[in-house]
């Protein structure tokens, strides 16, 4: 029997190849359909790429919820040009390699725009692919490396690290009169951006950090760095790291007897930071943020109420940023009558939007907001300092 089958082997291969080709053709068919959907009819496809698993997943969770809230509101009003907006979430695991693969995937599947990611390193990795595919991207990242990409398709839904840290340095040095500032940052994309932006801003005001500690992104024990900081007796400690790590640093610092207040940008205003460190440990933390609380304006109150009724939890900065970013994108889609590619990017750049974070006026660099406010954590809540 086996011998009888042997001559037919080439034919089997051929049949196999034909079947494979047919299968591939079948696979690409839905893609062709959505190609049409992407241009003139059917739902408008927008991708949300964020970390939905791992240590940065809370960022992804907030961002998706904020964007979804905006899209749901638009869909309730009838969508854009009579077309519904379809939001699909992708998990980049906070990993640049996974992000780059996803960028190719959303280009292949003809998504017309992307919201995310909340991790600067991933967004930087994705930017070249998205630029080539001409897919506008509104990111929640804030590292100055994003602006350095010089991609006309990359937009920030908040201020850059430079803005956060210049405001913070001014407050600490000019208003508070602090001269002895310690710096602890991680060596990731966000941490490095924070380090450079803050030390430069403080340097411009004539203050040099008394000690400059660098930790890794997955470090768990900070005894060495914190003991070095303690021995310098700083008046304030600047932290440049993501939520969980910043929380661990503050928790361990208090255990080591560091009583100076901490200061930092967006991560230190989040519930994850406060929970990780513990409420008592974060008391007095100075935060530079464009969105200090859900009571800061009538629009913020309305957003916070809608967010709470939709998800049963309190809104915070990242959800607000994503909500603003999604609204800017949807406004641009409306004014451009659902344009794609470069036309859509130009429409986003031309969009003037008064959002939760402030007044968005985009420049050529893709940054729409250039100011933040200072808040201090009192009894677990951010309180505005004016």
């Amino acid at each position: 029997m086996p011998r009888n089958h042997r001559p037919s082997a080439p034919r089997t291969t051929l049949v196999g190849a034909v079947a494979l080709a047919a299968a591939l053709a079948a696979c690409s068919a839905p893609g062709d359909d959505s190609d049409k959907a992407g241009s003139d009819s059917g739902p408008i496809k927008i991708a949300v790429v964020d970390a939905r698993s791992g240590q940065l997943s809370s960022l992804g969770d907030w961002e998706y919820k904020g964007a979804k809230l905006a899209v749901d509101e638009w869909n309730k009003k009838g969508g854009i040009d009579g077309r519904k907006i379809q939001l699909k979430s992708f998990d980049d695991q906070g990993d640049p390699t996974t992000g780059t693969n996803l960028a190719r995937k959303i280009a292949a599947e003809k998504y017309i725009a992307m919201i995310g990611t909340a991790e600067s390193a991933v967004t930087v990795a994705m930017a070249p692919v998205l630029q080539q595919a001409e897919i506008p991207n509104i990111t929640s990242g804030q590292a100055d490396a994003l602006v350095e990409q010089k991609s006309p398709f990359l937009f920030l839904n908040g201020p850059t690290s430079t803005t956060y840290d210049t405001t913070l340095a001014k407050y600490l040095i000019e208003e508070k009169g602090y001269k002895k500032i310690a710096v602890i940052t991680n060596n990731g994309s966000f941490g490095k951006g924070e380090h450079d932006a803050f030390t430069k801003a403080a340097g411009d005001l004539g203050v040099k950090a008394v000690t400059d500690q660098v930790v890794t992104t997955d470090q768990k024990d900070f005894s060495a760095a914190l003991t070095a900081i303690r021995s310098k007796k700083p008046q304030v400690v600047f932290i440049g790291s993501e939520e969980v790590e910043a929380g661990l640093i503050v928790k361990q610092a208090r255990d080591l007897g560091i009583t100076a207040p901490f200061a930092g940008a967006a991560p230190q205003g989040t519930p994850v930071f406060i929970d990780t460190a513990g409420k008592a440990a974060v008391e007095g933390t100075i935060v530079s943020s464009p969105y200090l609380s859900n009571d800061s304006s009538p629009a913020a109150q309305k957003f916070a109420a809608a967010y709470k009724s939709a998800y049963g939890e309190e809104a915070e900065l990242h959800g607000a940023k994503a909500y603003d970013g999604a609204n800017i994108l949807l406004t641009a889609l409306k004014t451009s009558k659902v344009a794609t590619g470069k036309k859509l990017a130009d429409a986003i750049r031309a969009t003037q939007y008064d959002g939760l974070l402030g007044q968005f006026r985009y420049g050529a660099d893709g940054v729409g907001i250039t100011e933040t406010s200072i808040g201090v954590i009192q009894d677990g809540k951010l309180v505005r300092q004016d």
Binding site: R52, S53, S58, D61, N187, Q213, K220, A224, L248
Partner: protein
């Protein structure tokens, strides 16, 4: 001087946790000749279970720990039971099987607890002790004490009880052990269950020190595995010494090499392993395939 001592204290507490993780790796290895790659994820499940009993069910911390050890012990038994048909037949498949279980456990954790983790407040509320300017967290002392108890307890079990002696016999020669009437399957199951329990102990203890999420296993597993290697894979004493060495080494490299600390830690580790491939307490390794 103060900085050196403080760094030592910081390294010792995490080192104790790595030692517990390494103990579990080593116990299963010496009994079955198998590296259980699901071990770190069992520790993660243990951390989640302990934090759930402690925070959500509001049980006392000690009780929460015991419950979480029982749960992960049961998971260990299930893993061993599923892999048992492969025992002494296909070793590679068993290894891959443990990797598969690790992935499944991570997925299960995300299904049950979601992707966002949780912070666990320390169960010991007393302020850190100040000894000559070196601050020692009371919780860290508890962690070290529990680790020491676990090591002594395990040593006693292996050396002085019948079950433990049977496990030692299986580790030395499983065919001879079978010939004298020892149930190898049961012995392996016990090793897996105790290993999983140790993982839960490590996970539960580390919860209040770190942040509990589905990726916690990765953080503990690599250092714990390195600790077991450094001490001598399969050696109980080696696991303890290796764990503490890795913890302290990590702490010092963090101080000196800052952003390059991971690189420095593993370079030192690699050189150490090159000089002594069998590890510090290099016992004759069990080879069963």
């Amino acid at each position: 001087m103060q900085e050196t001592l403080q760094t030592l204290v910081g390294g010792l507490s995490l080192g104790a946790v790595y030692a517990l993780v390494a103990l579990g790796f080593s116990l299963v290895y010496r009994t079955m000749g198998l590296v259980n790659f699901a071990h770190a994820d069992i520790a993660m499940i243990g951390a989640y279970a302990a934090s759930t009993f402690y925070l959500t069910a509001k049980l006392p911390f000690a009780l929460a720990m015991v419950l979480s050890i029982l749960i992960t012990g049961a998971i260990g038994l299930v893993i061993e039971r599923v892999l048992r048909p492969l025992e002494n037949k296909d070793f590679d498949l068993m290894l891959i099987g443990t990797i598969g279980f690790g992935i499944v456990l991570q997925a299960v954790a995300i299904l049950i607890w979601g992707t966002t983790g949780r912070a666990v407040p320390s169960p010991v509320r007393t302020a850190p002790l100040d000894i000559l300017g070196v601050r020692v967290r009371t919780y860290d002392l508890l962690v070290m004490a529990v680790t020491a108890l676990a090591v002594v307890g395990l040593g006693f079990f292996l050396a002085r009880t019948k079950r433990g002696a049977a496990m030692q016999a299986v580790a030395m020669d499983h065919e001879a052990a079978t010939a004298v009437g020892i149930d190898v399957g049961r012995s392996n199951a016990l090793a897996f269950a105790i290993g999983a329990g140790l993982a839960a102990l490590a996970g539960g203890l580390v919860g209040p020190m770190l942040y509990v999420d589905a990726s916690l296993g990765g953080a503990l597993g690599i250092k714990g595995f390195a600790a077991a290697m450094l001490g001598g894979f399969g050696s109980i004493n080696g696991a303890v010494v290796g764990g503490i060495l890795i913890g302290v080494l990590d702490s010092y490299t963090a101080g000196h090499f800052q952003g390059y600390s991971v690189l420095a830690t593993f370079l030192v580790f690699t050189v150490a392993i090159m000089i002594r491939p069998m590890g510090i307490f290099g016992e004759r390794t069990v080879s069963r395939a």
